[in-house]
Point group: D3
Chain length 269, copies 6
Amino acid sequence: MTKPFKRILFTGAAGNLGRRLRERLHEFADIVRLSDVADFGPAAPHEEIVLCDLGDRDAVMRMCEGVDAILHFGGISTEEEWAPIMQANILGMVNLYEAVHKLGIRRVVFASTNHTMGMYKTTDLVDATMPPRADGYYGVSKVFGETLSRYYWDRFGVETVCIRIGYCWPEATNYRQLVTWLSLDDLVQLLHRSLTTPRVGHTITFGISDNEGRWWDDRHAAFLRYKPKDSSQQFADKLPAEVQYPPADDIATFYQGGVFLHNGPKYRP
Amino acid sequence: MTKPFKRILFTGAAGNLGRRLRERLHEFADIVRLSDVADFGPAAPHEEIVLCDLGDRDAVMRMCEGVDAILHFGGISTEEEWAPIMQANILGMVNLYEAVHKLGIRRVVFASTNHTMGMYKTTDLVDATMPPRADGYYGVSKVFGETLSRYYWDRFGVETVCIRIGYCWPEATNYRQLVTWLSLDDLVQLLHRSLTTPRVGHTITFGISDNEGRWWDDRHAAFLRYKPKDSSQQFADKLPAEVQYPPADDIATFYQGGVFLHNGPKYRP
Amino acid sequence: MTKPFKRILFTGAAGNLGRRLRERLHEFADIVRLSDVADFGPAAPHEEIVLCDLGDRDAVMRMCEGVDAILHFGGISTEEEWAPIMQANILGMVNLYEAVHKLGIRRVVFASTNHTMGMYKTTDLVDATMPPRADGYYGVSKVFGETLSRYYWDRFGVETVCIRIGYCWPEATNYRQLVTWLSLDDLVQLLHRSLTTPRVGHTITFGISDNEGRWWDDRHAAFLRYKPKDSSQQFADKLPAEVQYPPADDIATFYQGGVFLHNGPKYRP
Amino acid sequence: MTKPFKRILFTGAAGNLGRRLRERLHEFADIVRLSDVADFGPAAPHEEIVLCDLGDRDAVMRMCEGVDAILHFGGISTEEEWAPIMQANILGMVNLYEAVHKLGIRRVVFASTNHTMGMYKTTDLVDATMPPRADGYYGVSKVFGETLSRYYWDRFGVETVCIRIGYCWPEATNYRQLVTWLSLDDLVQLLHRSLTTPRVGHTITFGISDNEGRWWDDRHAAFLRYKPKDSSQQFADKLPAEVQYPPADDIATFYQGGVFLHNGPKYRP
Amino acid sequence: MTKPFKRILFTGAAGNLGRRLRERLHEFADIVRLSDVADFGPAAPHEEIVLCDLGDRDAVMRMCEGVDAILHFGGISTEEEWAPIMQANILGMVNLYEAVHKLGIRRVVFASTNHTMGMYKTTDLVDATMPPRADGYYGVSKVFGETLSRYYWDRFGVETVCIRIGYCWPEATNYRQLVTWLSLDDLVQLLHRSLTTPRVGHTITFGISDNEGRWWDDRHAAFLRYKPKDSSQQFADKLPAEVQYPPADDIATFYQGGVFLHNGPKYRP
Amino acid sequence: MTKPFKRILFTGAAGNLGRRLRERLHEFADIVRLSDVADFGPAAPHEEIVLCDLGDRDAVMRMCEGVDAILHFGGISTEEEWAPIMQANILGMVNLYEAVHKLGIRRVVFASTNHTMGMYKTTDLVDATMPPRADGYYGVSKVFGETLSRYYWDRFGVETVCIRIGYCWPEATNYRQLVTWLSLDDLVQLLHRSLTTPRVGHTITFGISDNEGRWWDDRHAAFLRYKPKDSSQQFADKLPAEVQYPPADDIATFYQGGVFLHNGPKYRP
């Protein structure tokens, strides 16, 4: 069967999403090049494995050679001290785009996060034209990625779809997760549309399933033809029926970022 | 079965919506306190009945004691002379919020109306950020309620969901009602979501079913996770097939308020 | 069976859409008056046929006499030299509205086109309040039609629905057509709603089916109660799976107008 | 010298602004009818004095007879308990507009207040299309006045200019007053423009002088041709040079309403 | 002294504005080519005169040869029957832009009109992104010119500044003219800035002096660095002091277009 | 004479702006602490000098101790390779805000740049709510600073004014500089207002003088009461009179970033 691409690169293959997506990536290309910073086992027949520290410019360049498109899920994906975030998510991003530009790779799908806008309230409706409001160092680093990739599109024509991924785990177990849940199948569809739409320019889209209620208005990415098939509503009945309003000063329910607000920023005292 | 609340208060229990909603309110709380200005019969086992003139501050305070949340459907609900509207919808609203604030009640669901925006045209699309355009004294009094409750949120943290209720009767019998119809089931769902969403702040939402066509864009209340299940389309075939365009100066089809525009304002000559 | 109107006029009956729509028009009126510039065969029992050059004011006046409403599909419908476009789409439009105004006809449904906004990018989301961006002389002439009919509404109360029709052919065969496809059934529904909604004022609406993905946001015409039943998704699987990104300077994929951009404007060297 | 009007009515003549404006009102009309609830001395030759309780419908009707236009400064103008505010600012407003409508008076200039938007932050820029955010009962009552007068315009064609008056005292003595200061001369100009512009419909305008810095964007009322001549900058040097940032939770500097937030709402314990 | 251009073309030299501007055009270029449809006298030393019917494509081409930039003031400039407007303002505009494109002329300054938006109300604030609302055939033809020139920019890179000229006569004698007045000096400055700004793309700007009050918000053309020096305020005192509100249905004061609304559209009965 | 503060910190004292501003800083505080990475001479009597590498967390902490407010002009201020920019503008910014937060310093004025939005066109009007469009690594790093400081406001209440400084050199010598010029006096005023306004929250403002023409709309920072006294118009006459339109593909005139677009991004081949 013909596949969309000959070879794609997926970074962050050993992470949570990387491990869950791995078996689905063969739908996109004949050869799937997987990368992460540390060893994560052997390659399947249609796979290539490249170990790479994103902070190492030359290694990043080698990692990118010969690929048609990139799914960039690598880097730190939770709240952390600044040093490792800067190495992986800031310097790593710069290294990646310098390589992409130099090698003439046309498109990147960038795993951004809902924590780029975690300081909006849970009663706000956010769209892609509104200023980011990061909720920690992790979120700040992902806004950086969106800014840098925008620059590479405006100036050099490198196309990027930034997916602000919601809560992508098998099950939603509280109100916030009901709103932000993203199924693996829907993520795969969104990756497919992001890779195969003829033109994407620089686009910010929101990665959620067809949940009831939403905090994010994705109309500016409507041209991607993403149409989620799953819904978090299947988990709604498992939540406790009894309502107890959260304390007025409970930031984890007041702001969209949820418990991430309790974590960040992490720094030595 | 565990219910969302221990005790809720429903005002306006003897009104049209009150009578239709009464049998559904037990879904929300162990004890449903019902109130209206005049006697409306005995309480069921899970009910409490409190007769109360909303214009009587002390009575309102007593009515509110001990409840977890309030569904405020009381007051005048149609075009009238100013005196009774002021007593019930203006003074009554002030009395209610003073009690709510003093008693530390966290949330009110306020039955507002589409007549807060009845002077928009039937070709306009209205959302919750647009200025109200009331179509009579009744509508003006409901805008007052939205303004007052906003103040109690901004200043004191009392949460209110204002539902601009459409045409909530069993059947839609003309074009305007096709657009604005709200089924009882959908209203119950919307009340449930308004009561149980962890945070609502001060929210204006539009109470309509999943009708084809709409005059109101509810996206700013999307976080409520209200998803209507009914549609007025079931009544569409009963409307006359023959089209006769309304006279150019027929305000009841030109403005969203419909025949209410012919009624108001009522005042002695 | 009662029909919405006694007599409607359909101009452009010999065109592509005219031929496909002809058998459906009897749903709208007891008598369907069909018109085009050149002979297109005999009338069916419920039909009247009027040959008419839109550039001929007196002929246009006669064509319009006695009708309840007009579906104006006449004129040039593709990129052309200016002279014939001006005759049919500019002068013809003026002649039509002078007749409509003089005869007191209340409503026109005007076949506008997506080429009124063909210079927006394929990553843009366009709505009816945004300035037109025509992609050729044909598109410019249709913007003229929208402007003129707006004037006749603002000043004289003639109601017009301008439908910016997408790709209305039996099958979608490329990405652009997937996004812009309009089924005949959906077009018929949209015409029906445009004719029978009690008030339309001057409305610009987008004629597309319920395709996945969209370039056009039709919320300002939501009151028309148009709800497409078809989707281009049925054709998606026939497109080639392999992705080859279009050249960076390929205007036919960069702009919404598609290959029309290669055609226009046509003029003698 | 010809004056704009034969007779105008000024309500609230015994109030702070009424007393300061009184000597300027003769510029507007041959006869100035002054009114307040209690005696405030004798009339000058060009004046008429009418004592009137705004809560008394019949008295209000008599007060309005024979005037060409009204400057409505009457009512409560500071934070108070609800009962007197309702009597003067709610019922009084209804009485006034019923009289205006019945008598065919074409225009009212309504003294609204910046406290209609006192819950916006001092870093916000507010314009007339944004939802009011009252900062107390007084502000809520003025929003009511804006809503009611809007209705009388939309439905009956009564024209009103609502002036959200800033800090109109001789001298500005703190940062908030520097921003919101309005000189008497500028107020007189604004009243003149509000009265004499041929069309005003229903307009909300912001009454401030040409101060440096502003919280309010008045561009939607630009057609009034108001051009302030004074500036609070003359008082800037008298403010203390030393800066001490206000406490983070000091609502009187956080919100535009200033110390009014400490006052309201007043109600019996 | 060095002048901005070697040769510019000014069309409509025999019109009202053409005659008044003629003596000022030498500031812009060494050679000023003047054109109109009928003889208007001899050329001055630095002038060239070309008689040209704008409806004649070949003549228009010849008229444009060898010029660096064009000030297009030609065509009908008042309400008229459609036939002459179409010939001069529609066909003439097409002929001009075909010539401009073919000859590689980089920039046109187009004399548009405030009658492109005459159906906005006198209480509205209009900016360049809002949809035009023409008030007659003349206004409709100028919207056409703006649409066509936009197309030539979007598709071919021809730059145009469309100036929506206000009331450009020596003196303002009523309220509408106070608002819309444009002095000749300010027009000359605006032409200069429109011609000499390095980049203008396709810009719509509003040609008024620094009058008090305004209906038009020109911020989207701020980059032109136009700063009017004159003001209509000098004429304000000559207006009658006495105010008599216009009848509620007086369209000439209700809409921005003024008395033009009484004229149009002109067509044979 | 009383000064606004006891001690302020100015970083980047050895840079271009630092050297020019140094003699003016005593207006702000009794003691001015100056800092830069390398030695820049001795302190004046009212000055303290602290040498500090912004990439050194502990040194930054020491540098910030005991100050009332910070003017942060330190870091790289031109297009450069990524490594030094990351060290000074990314890591340095994080170090600064960790210190500010820990030490409880209430306010920072951050020298951002117009290159945060250099990829907007010279015909665009940009305001503070629009997404940044950086024009190189330098601009990207300043967007990072705006994002990080926003986070520290949203989460911790640290106030920051981000000044997007224009062209701040003694003289404007081309069209771009005419538009973007900022005089030293105006910068000093803007710094003063940014430091002394009681509340600023997180504000983005545009640092330009009162030039004719503008690309940036600063209305969202109007509350700062910044009122420029100088204008670039004094330099306008020195520009060449002759106009030669820039080539259509000249990015330095097409985009606001100007020649910076030719510089970046710098990276080893």
